[in-house]
Amino acid sequence: MDYQSMLAWSLPIGVGMAAIGSALGLGRAVGSAMEAIGRQPEAAGKIQTAMIIGAALIEALTIYALVVFFMLQGKIG
């Protein structure tokens, strides 16, 4: 198997793995935030802030994977 074939196989798998990882992380983060807000409703603002920033950072990781995909896509074929 040559370099380009390996790239063509691995790029979509890599992006898929990044998406799965982000989905699991985001689900866990939001679930934990909901539990925390349920336990301490008065701290909802602080928890929401941390959750929003965390969600944006997790989403950013998937987008980085997508950018790398686009950068390496040109090297296939």
Partner: protein, 132 residues
Amino acid sequence: MGLEFIDRSLRSTGIVLLVFLPFGVYYIGLYPTLAIFSGCIWSLFNLIFISAMVRATIRPEGANKMKTIGLALFKFPVLYLSGYFLLKIQIFEPHFLVIGFTGLFGIIVLRAVGRLISNVDDHTTKSIQEVK
């Protein structure tokens, strides 16, 4: 560190971006600066939409379903398609788009570190306790 932290971070990023524009054009060129600018603006809108969706969903009086659905229908197709378009057109280098995209997070981290070093949250908590 309440929800206003996000609004202030968005505002700070906008100001930093505006200050950066002329220097960027002068030192690194027009297209790289435009790429950084576009990446940062995309990131700003992304955070604005995430923040608005969370605020519409998680609130004491119950979720505002119509607003949440409207925001989701706008964010996911429109924002992601525009991101795809930015990456797909050959004018902008992806590296510079990523730098712009990361700029917002850099400012958030710097603001959080600044608050940590200056103990702003501790002072706020203490002053609230004193008032009570």
